[in-house]
Amino acid sequence: MPAALTPALAGISLKSPSGATWEFLILFLVVIVGPPLMTRARVPGIIGLLVGGFAIGPYGLNLIGAGNTTVPDLGQLGLLYLMFVAGVELDLALIRIHRRAVVVYGVLTFALPMTFGTVIGLALGWVPAAALLLGALLSSHTLLLYPTARAAGLSADRGVATAVGATVLTDTAALVVLAAVSGTQVAGGSPASIAAQIVVGLAVLVAFTLVALPRLARLAFRFLGTDRVVRYLLAVASFLAAGTVADVFGIEPIVGAFFAGLALNRLVPNEGPLMDRIDFFGSAVFVPIFLVSVGLLLDPGVMVEGETLKLAGLFIAASLAGKAAASGIARLALGYSGPQATLMLGLTVPQAAATLAATIVGFNIGLFDQSVVNAALVLILASIVVGTLLVDRSVPTVPSPEAVAHRVGARILVVLTDPAQARLAFPLAARVAAADGGIVRGMLAAPAAEMAALEPRLAELQAAAYAAGVDAEPRLLVHHALAPAVVDTATESRATLVVLGVSTVDASFLGSDAEAVAAGLAVPVAVLLGSEAEVREVEVVREPADRPGGSAFDADGLAIDLGRRIAGAEVEANDLVPESLQSPRPGLLRIMPATSWQLMAGTADPGKGSAVLLLPDL
C-alpha cells in the first residue's frame, strides 16, 4: 500500500447506520425475505412478515426501536389500505345471488363467536367494553384461503359463495362493534351523548361513503381520471377521506376505509386494471408493512407467559367453537353437504385483517395490554393453520359446481369498427357490466393496411371509456380477417359478452363477419348499430315464440336482461312487427334478437340519436 494512502485511510470514519433510509432498508428486506422463507417451510407467508417484524423490533434485534414512529405510522396507513381492499374486493354480485343463505350464515358466524368471546371476556373480569371488543375480534374473519377454493374451480359453489358473502356481514358488524367500543372509550361526555355521536357518526359515514363517495369518485374518474396514476391516487384519497370522516366522529378510521371499499366496489371491478394496481401496491408495500409493524409488538417473553397462553387457548376455543357451530347449524338449516360445510368452516376460520385491526385498536386505546395482543397473534397463527388444513382436506371432496349461467356483464369485450361509436358503445357496456361488477375491454378493429391511420384514434376510445366510468384500456385489433380475430380475442380474454360495433347496416358485414363471430363463440354477441345516440329509452323486440333460434343461450331472455340493465328498470318484450325494422325514434335503443343475417341486414340504419342492438340467435 502506498505510504501516502495510509493516513488517508486511517482518517476514514464510518458511523453505524441509522435514520429513515436504514429503517426503510430493514423494513423492505423483511418484506422481501420473510414470506418466501416461511413458504419454504410450508408456513403461510403472512407469518414470515410477523416473525420478521419481531426479529427487527424492540424485542428482537432492536434495529427498529420502541420509540420509532415511522414504521408504526406507515403500518397505520397499511391497515387502512388493507381494510379498503377488503371492501373493494368483495364480489357483491355473487352475494346477491345467494342472499338468503348469506344473511343466515353471516348472522350465525358473527353472533356465535361474538357471544362466546364476550362471555369469556366478562368471565375473565374484563370491563364490558374490552369483553365486547374481544367478541368482535373473534367474530370477524379474513378470506385468506379463498384463492385456494377459487383455484380449485369452486368459486361458484353455493357454500363458497355463501362464505364469501357472509364475510361482508361479519366484518361490517365487527367493525360497527369496534366503532361503538372505541367511541365510548375515546369520546368524552354522557353515555347518551356518546351513543348519539356514534349513531350520527355512522349515519354520516354511511351517507358519505355509500351515497356521496361513489358519485364524487365517478365524477373525478370522468374528469380527472384519464391518467392511471390519478385514478389510483383518487382511490387512495377516497379511503383516506372516508377514514377522516370516521375519525371526526370518533369512529376508528378503518371503519371508514372499509366502507369506502364497499362504496367503490362497483367502480373498481375485481379484474380491472385499477384493481390490479390497488392489489399490486397493497401486496407489495402497504399491507406487508402493516404486518411487519404488528410483528414489532411480538414479545416472546410475554407470549410464553402462562397468562398469554391461557388467553390464547380461550380465544382459539371460542373462535373455533363459534365458527364450527355456525357452519354446523348452516348445514342443517340451509342444506349444505358435509364437505361444503367443512369448506365453509375452513374459509371462515382464518383470522387476519379485521382481527388484527380490532386488536390493534383495542391496544391503542388502552383496553388491551400486550398479553392480549400476543394472545390474539397466537390465535391468528392457529386459525390460519387450522383453516388451511380444513380447506386442503375439503376442496377435493366438494364436487365442481354445475355449469352456472355466465354472468353476462362479467367481462365485456367491445370491438368497434368505427371510433365514432365509442361514445355510444362504452356507456351501454358500462351499464351492462355494472350489475355484475364486471369489466369492459375496448378494441378498435384495424385492417392491417389501416393500422397506422387508426392508431391515433384510440384516444377517442380512451376518452369515451373514461367518460363512461370504465378503464377499457383500448387496443388496436389488427387483423386480416375480422371474425377470426374477434373470436380469438374474445376466447383469450374469456369474454362473457362481445359487443361488435358497426355504424351502419352493412349486409356483407352482418352476413359474414357478425354471423361468423356469433357462430364461433359460445358466449352472446351483440351487434351495435348507430353512433350518435343518447339513450333515454329502451325497447325490446322479440320474434314469434316458435322461431328457430339456434344459439346456446336464451336470446329473448338475454335481450330483456340487457334492456333491464341499460334502462335501469324492468322492461317487457314486444312482438316483432314490420315497424320494428324501421329506424327507432331519437333517444330510443331497440334490442332485438335476430335468427338470421337476412333479418339483421333488413334492419334500417338507425337515424341520428337512436341505436339498435341486434343479438344474433343463429
Binding site: G65, A66, T69, G121, V127, G362, N364, I365, L367, V372
Partner: protein, 257 residues
C-alpha cells in the same frame, strides 16, 4: 377499588409500592409547565397532572413526588418510586436499567438561546458555546449532530443550564420543544427558542427494571392519548405556543441530515 390498582384484566394490573399512592420520581421541581409548585406541595404542570390521571385510572388516592437526580433516574434508581415521569427518551442503554411505556409525547430537540442570538444554519450553531444537562440524550445529539467548535459544558440539571444561559456563560442549549417554549415564555423575553432539529424524540414513562406494572401503565398511556387527555393537559399547562411552535420554529439541518 381505592388503592387496589386494578382497572381491567385486559389492560394489565397495577400494584403500587405504597398502598393507595402513586409515587413518581422526577428530577426538577419546579419545571416550567411540567411541574409547578414544590415536590411536597405540587400545584400542577403537565407531567404532574399526567401522574394524577394515571393514579385516577389505577384507583389510587393520591400522587407522591420524589425528586431524584436525573443521572440516577436513567441508571434505574427511582428511589422507591413506582414510575419516573421526567421527559425521558427511551434508548437502548437506558432500557438496560429501566422499562419504558409507549411515548406520551414526541418532541423535537429545540435550540434555546438568549434573545437576539440567531441560529440560521449549522455553521452559526457550531460557533456558539453549548451547554447541556448531563446524562440527557441531548449531550450526544449536540456532539454528533451539531459538532460545536468549542467544548460542550455539562450541567447538573435544568435550572443550572437555564441560569448559565441567562448569565451568558453558555450561548445555546438543547431542550425538548414544549419545555424550551415554556421556559422562553416565562423568561420575560430573555430567552428564545429559535430552531428545532428534524428528528423527534419519544418521551415515555419509565419504570424500574422488572416492574410488574409496565403493561398497566403502558395501557393507561395509550388510553390517555386516545381519549385526548394528554393533548388537553399539554394545552392547559404548556399552552397553544408549543403546538404553534412546532410549525413556526425553523428546522436546523445538522450533520446527520
Amino acid at each position: 377499588m381505592g388503592g387496589c390498582g386494578s382497572i381491567s384484566g385486559s389492560a394489565g394490573e397495577f400494584t403500587p409500592a405504597r398502598p393507595g399512592v402513586l409515587t413518581v420520581a422526577t428530577s426538577a421541581v419546579p419545571s416550567p409547565g411540567f411541574w409547578e409548585g414544590t415536590a411536597a406541595h405540587p400545584t400542577g404542570g403537565f407531567e404532574y397532572e399526567l401522574a394524577r390521571e394515571l393514579a385516577r385510572r389505577f384507583g389510587l388516592d393520591r400522587v407522591a413526588v420524589k425528586v431524584v437526580h436525573f443521572h440516577r433516574i436513567v441508571r434505574g434508581h427511582l428511589g422507591g418510586a413506582d414510575v419516573a415521569i421526567d421527559l425521558l427518551t427511551p434508548t437502548s442503554e437506558r432500557e438496560e436499567a429501566l422499562e419504558f411505556t409507549g411515548p406520551y409525547l414526541k418532541s423535537a430537540p429545540t435550540v434555546l438561546v438568549r434573545a437576539g442570538t440567531e441560529v440560521p444554519d449549522l455553521k452559526t450553531a457550531q460557533e456558539l458555546r453549548w451547554g447541556a444537562i448531563q446524562s440527557t440524550t441531548f449531550v450526544e445529539t449536540i456532539e454528533d449532530a451539531i459538532v460545536p467548535e468549542g467544548e460542550l459544558v455539562l450541567f447538573d440539571g435544568q435550572q443550572e443550564v437555564v441560569a448559565a444561559l441567562e448569565a451568558g456563560r453558555i450561548e445555546a442549549t438543547l431542550l425538548d420543544l414544549p419545555l424550551a417554549v415554556a421556559i422562553a415564555e416565562r423568561s420575560g423575553g430573555k430567552l428564545e427558542a429559535v430552531a428545532q432539529l428534524p428528528d423527534k424524540e419519544a418521551l415515555a414513562v419509565a419504570l424500574p427494571q422488572g416492574s410488574p406494572n409496565r403493561q398497566a401503565v403502558d395501557s393507561a398511556i395509550r388510553a390517555l392519548t386516545a381519549d385526548g387527555t394528554i393533548e388537553d393537559l399539554l394545552e392547559e399547562w404548556v399552552g397553544d405556543e408549543a403546538a404553534n411552535a412546532e410549525s413556526e420554529i425553523p428546522l436546523l439541518h445538522t450533520t446527520l441530515h
